[in-house]
């Protein structure tokens, strides 16, 4: 049933796409940064962006609309509306490979992105064009403070992700480790609140705060291990393993070296007879 619909939508999208391409055949199709803007450049950018949005729409129709609905309006029981998701949400989910989901109802987990850079940008632009959702944030960890970042992370993030950013259980889900998260992804997640994660407004966690949090997360990837080998940075569980499997095992070997064993003394044969 779904397949038929997808094929039909795909066919429709193709037709639309073909029409769009024909209509915009003259314009350049690369997006430009907002840095330099003359009047012509502005209109060129407009056109470029529109074409990016158009490409995004194409991709969306084929890959996303079966769950997120026509024009991102959402499908009841399948996928949420993306009208106010913003390019930030699309970017986060697509770059981290969390979307598309293999099966509706699965927890979105990090994986290989299914789209390449060009397509991601197109889809971002399209989803961003659907409503008033947040734009992709500019996160600069170097401008943040590790110390403030640690405090804020402890208060708002460590409960799920662990103070060392190694992830953990959330009843009903999984708070992933943050080792692979780029600063931009961190900034996006904070605003979007993906899957079960809470979300934070700019009033609650300002862009400067985001810089600090990202800086702290970077630190957790290369923590200060003044004490030696960090054994995973997750605390007493690996420490206990080392105490038993390294220290005690070594000492048992020494004890065996020093002490006598039951079989060593030939005269002990008597001891092994059944009684």
């Amino acid at each position: 049933m779904r397949r038929v619909r997808r094929v039909a939508m795909g066919a429709a999208a193709l037709l639309l796409g073909a029409f769009a391409v024909a209509a915009w055949a003259q314009s350049p199709s690369t997006s430009t940064s907002a840095a330099t803007e003359t009047a012509t450049a502005a209109s060129m950018a407009e056109l470029g962006r529109s074409s990016l949005v158009g490409q995004g729409r194409e991709l969306f129709e084929t890959s996303c609309s079966s769950c997120h609905g026509f024009e991102g309006k959402g499908v009841k029981g399948q996928g949420p509306s993306l009208l106010d998701a913003g390019e930030s949400a699309a970017d986060f989910y697509l770059r981290t490979g969390r979307m598309p989901l293999d099966q509706v109802g699965d927890e979105p987990l990090r994986g290989e992105p299914r789209f390449d850079e060009k397509d991601i940008r197109a889809l971002d632009a399209y989803v961003g064009s659907l409503g008033e959702g947040p734009a992709i944030p500019k996160v600069e960890p170097a401008k943040g403070s590790a110390s403030e970042g640690m405090e804020m992370f402890t208060e708002s993030c460590a409960g799920c992700h662990g103070i060392g950013g190694k992830g953990g259980v959330v009843i009903g889900g999984y708070a992933p480790p943050l080792g692979e998260a780029t600063p931009t992804e961190i900034g996006e997640a904070i605003r979007v609140g993906p899957y079960l994660m809470p979300r934070f407004s700019e009033a609650q966690i300002t862009p400067a705060d985001v810089n600090s949090i990202a800086r702290y997360v970077e630190l957790t990837e290369h923590p200060e291990d003044a004490g030696g080998f960090g054994i995973g940075h997750i605390g007493p569980v690996p420490e206990g393993l080392v105490a038993w499997l390294a220290a005690l095992a070594a000492l048992l070997l020494v004890a065996r070296l020093i002490g006598e064993r039951a079989g060593d003394d030939r005269d002990d044969d008597e001891a092994e007879q059944p009684r």
Partner: protein
């Protein structure tokens, strides 16, 4: 025939002798085997190991003298020194010094017959100590009473370790009109909280470390709320406040899950990281998973000039349960 008799006699004689020797060799050690290694190679090794250990020990001191000595180098040097000493000693113990196996008799105090005699002696000696004492029971009772009295007196000051429970475990700064503030002391603006947001807040002017002071403030969509009737107005604009302290064993509840797509995800809940007690926020903090029993106490809120203010005390006792804590229905 003669040979056999002599053999038997010899056997009997040997065992009798052995029995006599064993019976009367009380606590005497009899050497059984003794081996003199006379192993110059082992001796050389031992000496070398111990000299090397000395050098390693000095290395530790040298590294220590450096500014900002690396913990790893310090540890390694001293560990090597200790290991070398250990190796030298263990080597010496098996290959340098005489190897002996000795046999020794155990003291016979646990032997039933010996035990009885000694016990009798001791009991008799004790009993002799109260010869001539006439009113033994009276004196015993008096001694016992003195012991109890003074013992109680000795233990009494322990009570000063802490106050009487009284209202201490129920103390709370929250009542109608107390403003919510963030960790930096700034009052909490309702508009700053997005739907799906999570914030730790405190009572203005109260000690942040006090258990009842801290709150987990979350915001949900107003139409999601399923609060009981008597709490109808407790969550203005969908903003809910609960005690931050878990009712199981008092850890801070620091996980909040809010679904981006409610139709296919678990509902909004606060979760405790210690034993994963989970509390549903939409129905006022009922426990839905984990070992906690009592629901999470909810604080009624109202919005005054855009700021969040308490509209009354908590719905239940904060922190872990204990004897005087009422279970709510």
């Amino acid at each position: 025939m003669r040979a056999r008799v002599l053999t038997v006699l010899g056997w009997v004689w040997r065992y009798a002798l052995a029995a006599l020797v064993l019976l009367f060799s009380h606590r005497r050690t009899v050497a059984r085997e003794r081996e003199l290694p006379a192993n110059t190679r082992a001796e050389t090794w031992t000496a070398s190991l111990l000299f090397a250990a000395a050098l390693a020990g000095l290395a530790f001191v040298a590294i220590y003298a450096f500014d900002d000595a690396d913990t790893q180098l310090l540890g390694l040097s001293i560990a090597v020194a200790l290991a070398l000493v250990a190796a030298g000693l263990i080597l010496a113990a098996s290959l340098v010094v005489p190897q002996e196996t000795l046999e020794e008799c155990r003291p016979a105090f646990a032997d039933p017959t010996e035990e009885e005699e000694d016990v009798e002696d001791a009991a008799l000696t004790l009993r002799e100590g109260v010869d001539g004492v006439t009113r033994r029971r009276l004196l015993k009772a008096a001694g016992g009473a003195a012991g109890v009295g003074l013992g109680t007196a000795a233990l009494a000051p322990l009570a000063s370790l802490g106050p009487a429970v009284g209202d201490r475990l129920g103390a709370s700064p929250w009542k109608d009109g107390v403003r919510l503030v963030e960790e930096n002391g700034m009052p909490v603006k309702a508009a700053d909280l997005e739907i799906g947001s999570f914030l730790t807040a405190f009572a203005e002017g109260a000690d942040k470390e006090q258990l009842a002071t801290s709150l987990a403030v979350v915001r949900v969509k107003p139409d999601e709320l399923e609060l009981p009737e008597d709490r109808a107005g407790w969550a203005p604009e969908g903003i809910l406040a609960f005690s931050k302290i878990c009712t199981h064993a008092q850890c801070a509840i620091s996980l909040f899950r809010y679904p981006l797509f409610a139709e296919r995800s678990p509902g909004p809940a606060l979760v405790c990281p210690c034993h994963y007690s989970t509390f549903d926020v939409l129905d006022g903090g009922e426990r839905i998973f984990g070992p906690a029993v009592r629901p999470l106490p909810q604080l009624p809120l109202r919005i005054e000039d855009g700021f969040l203010v308490a509209a009354g005390p908590f719905s239940g006792a904060v922190g872990a349960s204990w004897g005087k804590v009422k279970e709510e229905g």
